[in-house]
């Protein structure tokens, strides 16, 4: 995966949003978005059986068959299937993107993820909190303030080492742009710096974005959050083992 081809990205907390044609650093921040506000809740919900199947498809069956499966309800994520291996699979929605991402409220986003145990323990609590507050009708600034307060009070955990998030479903819809999808792995790190993994350099297979924001202009408080970067590595097959087109 090269920046020259996949020339713009934004990774949400659990999803890759690929934007072809511009660089992500030049992406407008929370402006000119076709999705300025939350759509009716029903547009974000799925048939329960279909959501379970989509969540499982994020990772090879050898991983997801024993994973806990979450589904989105009207008030947040709920456990639909108990797991046995510590992994958690779910379908992310647009609001797991950075707070100033243009597709934050895109109701079409269906981003299947399977998180390994360290990621499930240390990333998912942020997802739950964000989701519950947004679905309860809180504004983005209110959600940001609540998450910051929870971090300060240590109600939300520190990021663990060794986090991996499989996003290899053929059926995800990650963005309105390009092919809407692409199989990849994501790694959450406390590093502030793209250079940590040689990310975003010419011909590097690693892409990196800030977990919280694109620019933080719209929501400056995000700059006070603990640094969290998401590193992404594209892979050459889908979760069912079939080859994926080059990215």
């Amino acid at each position: 995966m090269r920046l020259t081809k996949v020339s713009a990205i934004a990774i949400n907390g659990l999803a890759l949003l690929v934007v072809l044609g511009t660089t992500y650093r030049a992406m407008p921040q929370d402006v000119a978005t076709p999705y300025p506000k939350m759509a009716p809740i029903g547009q974000y919900l799925m048939d329960r059986t279909a959501e379970i199947a989509l969540a499982r498809s994020a990772a090879p069956e050898s991983i997801s068959r024993d994973a806990e499966i979450l589904v989105l309800g009207r008030h947040g994520y709920e456990t639909a299937v108990q797991g046995k291996n510590g992994w958690v699979c779910m379908v992310g929605r647009g609001w797991m993107a950075m707070f100033d991402h243009p597709e934050f409220w895109n109701p079409k986003i269906r981003a299947a993820d399977c998180l390994n145990p360290p990621a499930a323990r240390s990333v998912l609590p942020y997802v739950y909190k964000r989701t519950e507050l947004l679905l309860a009708g809180h504004s983005k600034p209110e959600v940001i303030a609540a998450i910051k307060a929870a971090i300060d009070k240590k109600e939300l955990p520190a990021l663990e080492q060794g986090t991996v998030d499989y996003m290899m479903s053929k059926s995800s819809y990650l963005t309105d742009n390009g092919d809407h999808n692409g199989p990849h792995l994501m790694f959450y790190e406390t590093s502030k710096d793209d250079a940590a993994w040689g990310a975003n350099l010419t011909n590097s297979p690693v892409l990196s974005v800030n977990y919280w924001y694109v620019s933080a202009q719209a929501y400056p408080q995000l700059k006070t959050f603990p640094p969290m970067s998401v590193f992404l590595v594209g892979v050459d097959k889908w979760s069912d083992g079939t080859p994926a087109p080059p990215m």
Partner: protein
């Protein structure tokens, strides 16, 4: 073949293979992959010194393991990783030309934590319990010059 002859044959085989292997690993100096240079790379440098000094494979392994146990060689630092994307690498007689890949280094982690080695997983995991080192490898789609690797 007696056990001494077997050992000699293995030693000879090991040295012969080593003459051909050229694997290019780029552990970037910087933040945090100074981590890789400060941890993983030190083991390789020590191993190389021992081999060039004429030590046997068993002696090299023993010395490295002892140095790790005595903390003369450091544990892997968080975020230690390595690019192996050269077209010109020679990985050994069994897999002469490895696909382009990234490697990640951890101190003694269960490979299953990353789903490594499971059917259809894109991650391979190697666990060296003596060196307390777990290595993950992920194939990538392009060589370092940007051309497709498959």
């Amino acid at each position: 073949m007696n056990s001494q002859e077997e050992n000699d044959a293995e030693e000879e085989s090991w040295r012969n293979r080593n003459q051909e292997i050229r694997t290019a690993c780029c552990a970037r100096y910087g933040v945090p992959n100074a981590a890789a240079a400060r941890s993983y790379l030190l083991r390789n440098l020590k191993r190389t010194d021992l081999i060039l000094a004429g030590r046997t494979k068993a002696q090299v392994d023993e010395t490295i393991v002892a140095a790790v146990d005595k903390k003369e060689l450091p544990a892997m630092e968080p975020g230690a990783m390595c690019y192996m994307m050269s077209k010109q690498g020679y990985g050994g007689d069994s897999v002469k030309h490895w696909p382009a890949h990234l490697m990640f280094f951890y101190s003694q982690t269960d490979p299953a934590t990353w789903g490594a080695g499971l059917p259809d997983s894109p991650i391979l995991g190697l666990n060296d319990t003596r060196e307390h080192l777990t290595t993950f490898a992920i194939a990538v789609q392009r060589w370092s010059d940007g051309t497709e690797s498959r």
